[in-house]
């Protein structure tokens, strides 16, 4: 494994290990949950779809489409059991991004899925 001497003088971030800064957004918690992420998702729609597609491609390689069938058919049923307001926010994200609800749910429960 490649280990190196402790780096110094890396800040402010620059050079080959720095890709770019992160954009700021405001999330208004006074809005209905299904509208809170709309402006963010409108800007990131293509990137979200590309990330989900990458997961689908990987899953297809392993499970030959069976897992995706399960995700698209069964995971939307979970969304209403998720705690409020997260369930409504997820529905709003799926609606604006036009990504199937089950796939947005999968992204949001990724942590629990991958702790083994």
């Amino acid at each position: 494994l490649h280990s190196e001497d402790c780096r110094t003088g890396m800040y402010p971030p620059k050079g080959p290990t720095f890709k770019r800064n992160v954009t700021w957004y405001t999330l208004n918690l006074d809005l209905p949950p299904n509208q809170r992420w709309t402006h963010v998702i409108k800007e990131k729609k293509a990137e979200l779809a590309a990330m989900i597609q990458a997961i689908k491609d990987l899953a297809n390689g392993f499970f030959h489409g069976k897992l995706l069938h399960l995700v698209d058919k069964e995971l939307p049923l979970i969304v209403d059991t998720l705690p409020y307001p997260f369930n409504e926010e997820i529905k709003g994200i799926a609606s604006v991004s036009e990504v199937p609800l089950g796939e947005v749910v999968l992204f949001n429960i990724f942590y629990e899925v991958f702790t083994v």
């Binding site: 280990s3 957004y25 918690l29 705690p83 429960i109 629990e112 702790t115 083994v116």
Partner: protein
């Protein structure tokens, strides 16, 4: 992931992290990158969550992901979460949830709830330690006063350990990767030793957000899975995040 909470000689608390994600999620041979890690990078956003036009907390997150993995409640506390791999993992919690046993909390929803509602470091620590979870985890929490920094090691049901900054013992930082701190890390994934070596080399007298960024920029603490680096200073409410790259030669995790 690598998270660290540290206190300088003046009692200022700093909290920083590398978020590493996407292991075994497709390897791009040509570019020598993890496919999912690269797809996640354009989704990284900083979010200022406001109510009544006032900041409740700030977070570095992924667009489309409503939970929180990195957040700061200005002047109160900072919080990050690292994955804890265990055979009694989240899939058991998901199965229980599907079967109708729904007394556990989804990990990233809990961190968001804590950032929204907890009123102090102690309140946050109690909520993170006492809530039943769907998956094991490490919660790394920083406060706004001397000695307020800890790693909470959680199983789905119990709190296994709370490891705190303790100036009397000379413990001026706590650093967590993805292994219980009282056990040795997996020999093929030891980011803890190089990170601690760099922290100790910097010394408490010279610890600042820029020097912590140096630690998080040192391979293999920085690796092919590193998506972003976040730096937080609770007293000022400062949150800075940077998308990272790790050009070869660089460890795959």
């Amino acid at each position: 992931c690598t998270s660290v909470v540290t206190e300088d000689v003046n009692g200022n608390i700093y909290h920083a992290r590398n978020l590493d994600f996407g292991l075994f999620m497709g390897w791009d041979r040509k570019n020598q990158t993890w496919t999912l890690t690269e797809k996640l990078k354009p989704l990284v956003v900083n979010v200022d969550l406001k109510r009544n036009n006032r900041t409740v907390f700030k977070s570095t997150s992924f667009a489309g992901y409503v939970g929180i993995l990195t957040g700061i409640k200005p002047r109160e506390f900072t919080l990050t979460m690292n994955e804890r791999f265990n055979i009694d993992g989240g899939y058991v919690g998901i199965l229980e949830w599907i079967l109708g046993l729904r007394d556990g909390m989804w990990m990233s929803f809990l961190t968001r709830k804590v950032l929204e509602n907890a009123t102090s470091y102690e309140d946050a620590r109690n909520q993170l330690a006492l809530t039943k979870l769907l998956a094991p985890a490490y919660f790394i929490l920083g406060g706004n006063q001397t000695g307020q920094g800890c790693v909470i090691t959680r199983s789905r049901i119990d709190t296994l350990d709370v490891w705190e900054i303790n100036m009397k013992l000379g413990r001026w930082y706590v650093l967590e990767t993805n292994y219980d701190h009282w056990e040795k890390p997996f020999f093929l994934d030891d980011r803890r030793t190089p990170a601690m070596k760099c922290m100790n080399k910097i010394t408490q007298a010279n610890i600042t957000l820029p020097t912590i960024y140096d630690v998080l920029s040192t391979k293999p603490v920085l690796n092919k899975l590193t998506t972003y680096t976040a730096l937080m200073e609770v007293s000022t409410g400062r949150l800075e995040s940077y998308i990272r790259d790790c050009p070869s030669p660089c460890t795959p995790w």
